[in-house]
């Protein structure tokens, strides 16, 4: 078999080349991943925090959320938000498709992030919480000024790998015809029969995207390190 990279300069039949199409597909992958990451970090942190509070009802909600979204496959969750929810709540039918995917991927990942945030908070010595409360801070203030600043630094490495997982998991959006990289790969493979070249290019783009996140996270970790503490050095 021989290489044929010219395939990327072929016209797709709609006035753009496969290269153009792939770049816009990459944009969709990054958009879906980015939005989902915001949802996942927000909801996941909230749920993780709830699970460490002394309020039993909050702990229950946090636990239930985590178990629910961790034990259903991502693809099934995407179908739930895409097919099931809009047919039960008619008013949601006009919502763009990508929103369903972002919610599904965001909530799915939030369950994993909630685990890590909880573990991060519980990794702190119990005395820190008591110290905060003892100097007269309210519980929310204790979280805001004492526990969370350290807990989030502890969980940067696992959050980094979750962020890289989001890029990978965004590929499941192909199933509801979001024109992201995997969807492009399947379509272009069928249209051009140059599967190897197309898959190589797409795989490479996934690589760089995940690697970029890895580097950004390393910079963040470096910026926020506390001297004398976890990885702070010296």
């Amino acid at each position: 078999m021989s290489w044929d990279w010219q395939v990327f300069f072929q016209d797709t039949g709609s006035g753009q080349t496969y290269l153009n199409w792939m770049m816009s597909a990459w944009g969709w992958t990054l958009l879906v991943s980015g939005c989902s990451l915001v949802v996942a970090l927000t909801v996941g942190s909230l749920m993780g925090i709830l699970r460490t509070t002394p309020v039993k009802a909050f702990v229950w909600i946090g636990n239930a959320w985590t178990e629910l979204f961790r034990n259903i496959p991502l693809l099934v969750q995407i179908f739930l938000w895409y097919h099931v929810i809009p047919s039960i709540f008619k008013s949601l039918q006009s919502v763009p498709d990508i929103v369903a995917v972002v919610i599904a991927l965001g909530f799915f990942t939030s369950a994993r992030i909630s685990e890590q945030v909880r573990a991060g908070i519980q990794a702190l010595p119990r005395g820190q919480r008591y110290a905060g409360l003892a100097v007269g801070l309210t519980l929310p203030q204790t979280y805001r000024f004492v526990l969370l600043p350290m807990a989030f630094r502890i969980v940067i490495p696992p959050l980094t790998s979750e962020s890289m997982n989001i890029i990978k998991n965004s590929s499941v959006a192909f199933a509801v015809s979001i024109t992201e990289l995997t969807f492009f790969a399947m379509q272009a493979q069928e249209e051009t029969s140059r599967g190897v070249e197309i898959y190589l290019a797409v795989t490479f783009l996934y690589f760089i995207s995940a690697f970029a996140i890895n580097r950004v996270a390393a910079v963040i970790e470096q910026r926020v390190k506390v001297p004398g503490m976890i990885g702070g050095g010296k």
């Binding site: 078999m1 178990e67 629910l68 961790r70 034990n71 259903i72 496959p73 991502l74 693809l75 099934v76 969750q77 179908f79 739930l80 097919h83 099931v84 047919s87 039960i88 008619k90 890289m164 890029i167 990978k168 998991n169 965004s170 590929s171 499941v172 192909f174 199933a175 995997t182 790969a185 399947m186 493979q189 599967g195 190897v196 898959y199 797409v202 795989t203 996934y206 690589f207 995940a210």
Partner: protein, 221 residues
């Protein structure tokens, strides 16, 4: 819209859903056994201290772990026929793919497990005259395996969830079973909902069992 589950009977379950369920379970078991076996070998290669074994193993693990599973499934579906000269079918192709893919993840778990066994144990093995292979076989691996059992099983639950991704090549798994039933009876919404409930019940009960096991194993450590 009104959800209605009245159309569901044993006939539907046995002819559409069980067929998919059997395949999902089969795929999970094959990939678990094959993946742990292959993964252990890869982990041993990475810890062997010999560069010509270490680098290929590290390359294997890092590559597969940075590619989305759907892309890996597509890659194998494309490449296997090119290599063996005839199509293998979505089901068989999925089994090869999942074994190779999961081995990368299992190998990281086994590596951590092997590293969790203290060095003194290996020294003790050498002291009583065992060679490297015997040390691994009789001292290190049994303990590594036991220490990591909960993690290996948790990974298997994730693997079971991931089997739904064979959707990409059209293999008939549990999710596909629900989807086909939903199309045939024109009730896709109910079927997707049931699919979610089914997966949840299976995965949630399994993870509860793993948690129990973890507490039991934790006692001896």
């Amino acid at each position: 819209m009104n959800l209605s589950f009245a159309f569901i009977d044993w006939n539907l379950i046995s002819s559409f859903i069980l067929k998919g369920f059997y395949f999902s379970v089969q795929l999970t078991l094959v990939a678990m056994v094959g993946g742990i076996a292959l993964g252990t070998i890869v982990a041993l290669m990475r810890l062997s201290g010999k560069k010509w074994l270490e680098y290929p193993a590290a390359f294997y693990v890092n590559t597969l772990r940075s590619i989305p599973l759907v892309m890996v499934i597509l890659w194998f579906f494309l490449l296997i026929p090119l290599l063996i000269g005839r199509p293998l079918g979505a089901e068989l192709s999925a089994m090869v793919t999942f074994t190779v893919f999961e081995a990368a993840y299992y190998s990281e778990i086994m590596r951590a497990g092997i590293q969790s066994v203290s060095k003194g144990q290996v020294s003790a093995g050498y002291a009583v005259g065992m060679n490297y292979a015997q040390c691994m076989r009789f001292i290190v691996l049994p303990q590594a395996f036991r220490n990591m059992l909960p993690v290996l099983l948790t990974q298997t639950i994730i693997l079971f969830q991931d089997t739904s991704l064979v959707y990409a090549v059209g293999a008939y798994d549990l999710l596909k079973g629900f989807e086909v039933a939903g199309k045939n009876f024109n009730r896709p919404v109910e079927m997707y909902l049931l699919a979610a409930i089914t997966y949840f019940i299976i995965c949630f009960s399994l993870s509860m069992l793993v948690r129990r096991l973890q507490q039991k194993i934790a006692i001896i450590r």
